[in-house]
Amino acid sequence: MTNSDSISLKVDDFDVDGAVREAFERMPQHTRSGFLGRTVAAGAAALGAVAVWPALASAKSDPGDITILNFALSLEYLQASFYTEAEQIGALRGALAHQANVVGTHERAHVKAFKQLLGSAAIKEPAFDFHGVTENPDAFRSTAVAFEDLATAAYKEQAPLIKSRSYLAGALAIHSVEARHAAWIRRLAGFLPAAHAFDEPLTDAKVVHIVNSTHFVTLKDPTTSMEAKPRFTG
């Protein structure tokens, strides 16, 4: 199948309405690289051990599939945590509060599904700090637009790389739900729900770069945590 439109994608092209940039440029800047950058972009290095783990899913699964499922899980962790926190804080009203409730329910279901599928191969949930965007309806709205368009683009890139038919079917069924979420929140934000005839994929490296640039992910890696502990020198 030829792509007659032949669109070369850059993050700026993807971020057509500036929603990602707008939401993320407000974030306080930190210098430490994020959790996702190490575990997901590192890919094989971080997840190379999973193939030998006796988990239900990993026993027969392609190592690449496990990496992709964990990448998806990391995005679902991010989204689920975002909506859950927004709901708990309770600053949203009306249609926006309803969207956060329903979509949050979906994202939490996605998290549970991937965790159960991956078993012991599932990456651990990082700590998140949303820097106040869950407390402000406008910031919530633009961040949600960015997250949902990002998740749609991420699943689209990964789906053709999945080896297992069953995992592919599941990923596709979630991919279109993420697109519905994107359309839903875009409409509430005053953007066209379907702004283009073709949705473009986004590589895992670009997705990770965007997520890291938000500094929403705060978990320290084990080495850093150990170093942060006071040494016993008695």
């Binding site: 991937f114 729900p193 005839a197």
Partner: protein, 213 residues
Amino acid sequence: MVKGALTRSESADQERVPLVARLSRGALLKGSVAVVGALAGAAVGGAELAASASSGGSAATDREILTYGLLMERLQAAFYAAALAGGRLTGEARQFAQVVGAEEQAHVKFLTAALGSSAGASPRFSFGDSATDPAKFIATAISLEETGLGVYNGQAVNLTPKTLAAAARVVSVEARHAAWARALAGKDPAPVAVDVPITVAQAKQTFKPYIVQ
């Protein structure tokens, strides 16, 4: 048009959909176990999985699925054109018809180019007041968009990876259309956590009234 693959897909679909539909109606929204079930195999049918654990596909199957996709896109494009020609849509419904109609036309062009000489001629369509009556327009739009999305989601697992990558650029746009149409009807744009595939056989029943024989 290659008959074999679509027939096989349809028979797999017959087993697939009732199970997934049952899961989604109840537990998918909140339950994790049911979602795992959908992810782990229910969504593609146990028997089909056993026979083919890995996705593979062939050029012939790709062509067959894209040909059905082209029919759906042609039907949708004609539907929005008829709705706009009727002149009774106003406000956001009219904007929806304009934006989505243009995107369906782009999908028709894209699939026609991809299929080349095997694209064939479009059938003629007739929508009556399903397109022109504002209340019926939204209900029909939801039906056509949900059906199109469900067929794409059901058939995408049968595509080769390269064609899947191309088709996926269309599928999520159809999901956006379905969500937007639902919003216009006052429904939740995303009713369940995992979208349910629709069989080609079911889709044919939905589309039949609009295709002029």
